[in-house]
C-alpha cells in the first residue's frame, strides 16, 4: 500500500533526503553531487520503483501538474475531439486534465472555475460563456496561465485559440451566391456568444458585398434553451414563411442537424429543392445523402495550439499575449448542387 519515499532511498543509499531530492530532480550537476553518489541513487530509485508523491511535491511547490479544461459540452463532436487531443498533448508535458461542461450556463461555468481553483490546477483552458468576464478578469489578475478556446471576450485581452469565424461564414455565403442561389436564409442562435456573432457578421458582410442588402426576415434566431422538437418546429415554420427560398446556412453543427430534420419533415430534398450549408463538420454531414457542405474547423490544430500557448505561459510566464486565429475550410459536398450560374 505505502509507496517508497525519498527517505527510503536516502536510508538505503546512506545519504540524506536532500541529496536524493537533488539527484532525482536533475540538479546533481548544479548542486555538485559526486557522480558516484548520483548513480547509486538513480539505480536505487529505479530498483525500488520510486514514484514521487505529487501531492507532497505540489504542497511544497504549489504546482499540481494538472490543467483544467472547461468546454461547452464534452459530448459535442467538436469539443470531444478537442478534449481528446488536448489530453494527448498535455500528457507529453507531464500534465493531466480535469474537465467539465458548462452547457453554456453561467452558473455552471462559475462553479467549474471555483472547483478548479480549489483544486489548484496550474492552468486553464476555457470556453467562456457569455457574462463570464468578471471571473476571467479575476483569473487574469491572479496571473493564472489561461487560454480561451473557441471564443473570446471582446473586452478582455487574453490568450485565445479559435477559428476565423467571420471568414468561414463569409466564404460559405459567397459560395452560395457564386453557385447562383438567389434567396439565401440564415439560422443562428439568440445567444450573444461572440463566435456566433462573428459567423453571422461574416455571412451578412458577404451578402452586403454582393447584394443590395439582406432582409431581416431571412434571418432566424433560435433559443439555445429550446428543446429539439421546438427548434425543429421553428425552423420548419421559418422555411415555409419564405417563398422561393433556395439556400440556407446554419451557424453551428447542432443547428444544422436540426435543419436537416426540419427539411426532411417538410418533404424537401436537400441539394435539389434547397441548398444547405452548416458551420462545423460532423459525421452526419459527411455521410448524409447528399453530403452536407460545411465550414470545417481544424480541430487538431486548434487543440495543439491551445496546449502550445498554455505550456508557453506555464513555463515562461511571459506577459506576451498569444491570440491564434486559424483558417476555416469550406468543404464542398452535394448539398449545394446548382451549377454555377449567375456571377455575383
Amino acid at each position: 500500500m505505502k509507496g517508497v519515499s525519498i527517505k527510503d532511498i536516502a536510508k538505503q543509499a546512506g545519504v540524506s533526503p536532500t541529496t536524493v531530492s537533488f539527484v532525482l530532480n536533475g540538479k546533481a550537476k548544479e548542486k555538485r553531487i559526486s557522480d558516484q553518489v548520483s548513480k547509486k541513487i538513480l539505480k536505487l530509485a529505479t530498483k525500488l520503483k520510486y514514484k514521487p508523491n505529487q501531492l507532497a511535491r505540489g504542497l511544497r511547490t504549489g504546482k499540481t501538474k494538472t490543467i483544467g479544461l472547461i468546454v461547452e459540452d464534452i459530448a459535442n463532436h467538436f469539443f470531444a475531439n478537442v478534449a481528446k487531443i488536448v489530453e494527448e498533448e498535455a500528457d507529453k508535458f507531464g500534465y493531466k486534465v480535469l474537465y467539465g461542461s458548462t452547457e453554456d450556463n453561467l452558473q455552471k461555468a462559475k462553479g467549474l472555475l471555483e472547483v478548479l481553483e480549489y483544486r489548484q490546477v496550474d492552468g486553464y483552458i476555457i470556453t467562456p460563456t457569455v457574462n463570464l468576464d468578471k471571473d476571467i478578469e479575476a483569473l487574469k489578475h491572479a496571473r493564472k496561465p489561461m487560454v480561451l478556446l473557441d471564443r473570446y471576450l471582446p473586452h478582455i485581452p487574453t490568450n485565445y485559440v479559435m477559428v476565423n469565424n467571420f471568414q468561414g461564414a463569409y466564404d460559405a455565403a459567397e459560395y452560395l451566391m457564386q453557385l447562383g442561389y438567389e434567396k439565401i436564409a440564415v439560422v443562428t442562435i439568440t445567444s450573444e456568444q461572440i463566435q456566433m456573432k462573428e459567423r453571422l457578421d461574416g455571412f451578412l458582410a458577404a451578402m452586403k458585398a454582393h447584394r443590395s442588402g439582406f432582409p431581416r426576415k431571412m434571418l432566424k434566431k433560435l433559443a439555445f434553451t429550446a428543446t429539439r422538437e421546438e427548434n425543429i418546429e421553428e425552423i420548419k415554420t421559418f422555411i415555409k414563411s419564405i417563398p422561393n427560398l433556395d439556400a440556407i446556412f446554419f451557424t453551428t453543427n447542432y443547428l444544422g442537424i436540426y435543419g436537416i430534420e426540419a427539411v426532411k419533415d417538410l418533404g424537401l430534398q436537400i441539394g435539389e429543392d434547397i441548398a444547405f450549408i452548416s458551420f462545423d463538420d460532423h459525421d452526419l454531414f459527411r455521410l448524409y445523402s447528399p453530403g452536407i457542405t460545411c465550414v470545417s474547423q481544424p480541430i487538431g490544430d486548434i487543440a495543439r495550439s491551445v496546449i502550445q500557448v498554455l505550456m508557453n505561459e506555464l513555463n515562461n510566464n511571459t506577459n506576451q499575449i498569444n491570440q491564434v486565429v486559424l483558417p476555416a475550410t469550406l468543404v464542398k459536398r452535394g448539398s449545394c448542387s446548382k451549377k454555377a450560374a449567375s456571377k455575383i
Copy 2:
C-alpha cells in the same frame, strides 16, 4: 495569491488550528466544541472564503477526491456521452475526473494506469483493453476501488457496468428474421474484446435458434487498426461476395458508419436493396434516410450506475462485487423495411 489557511482562521478566532479543523470537518459535536466557538469559526470561514487545501489534506489523508476514467476513445459518441454524465455525477459527490483514451492499445492503457496511480486517484473507471488482466488484477489486489465499463475480463471477478450485448445482438438478428430477411451477414472486428465476442455470440445464437446454421462466409471480421478507407473497401468486397445478400448487421457504431459508406459506394439503397442494423446509436443513424435501426445502449443509466457502484466502493469498501448488466433496446427505423413475411 496565497489562500487563507486554517491557521489564519485560528488566529482570528483565538483558538487552535485543531479546533478549527474539527469544526470545519463537521466534528464539532463529536469533539464537543462549544456552540459559541463553533459558530464563530464557521462565520469566519465563510467571511474569509476559506477553501481547504486539497493537496495538504490529500497528503495527510491519502485521498485526492479524484477518479480516473479510462475509455477507449473519448471522441467516440458513446464514450463522450458517458464521460459527460460521469463528470456530472462525480461532481455531486465532490469528485473530479481525470481521463484518457487507450485507443484499445495495451501499452497506452498501461501508461494511463500508471499515471493515474502516480496521481493517487481514489478510484478507477476502466474500459479494459485485451490483455490488461494483470494490471487489473494488481489494482484489485491493492484493493483500489474500481469499476469496469463497457466490457469485463472473464477471468477476473470485478465490479462492472455494461449493456447486455448478447441479448441486444440476439434481438437484432431475430428481428431481421421475423421481418423475413433470408441472407443475413454480420460484420465485426478481429479484436478479442469480450463485448464484441458477446455481440457476435448473440447474433449467432439467434441464427442457430431459427435457422439450420450459419455459414462462415457470411461473417466478416475487420482489423481495428485498419484505416477508414481500407475498412470500407473490405466491406464492399464482402458485400459483393455474397449473392442475394438482403440484410447486414454491424456490431458497433463505427463499423456501422463504415458500412453506410460502403453500401452507398456500391450504389445500393439501404432499406430497399439491403436491410441494415448496427449496434450502438448515433446521430447519423437517427437522421440518415432512411433511419438506421440500431441496438441502443442506455448511456445515462450506464454512467450513473458506474458512479453509484464506485461511490459505494469508495465509501464502504465492502468486499461485495457489483456487476450491473443493463438491457439494450432495439430502436426500429426505416433501414429494415420489409414487411413481416415468413415467420421464423
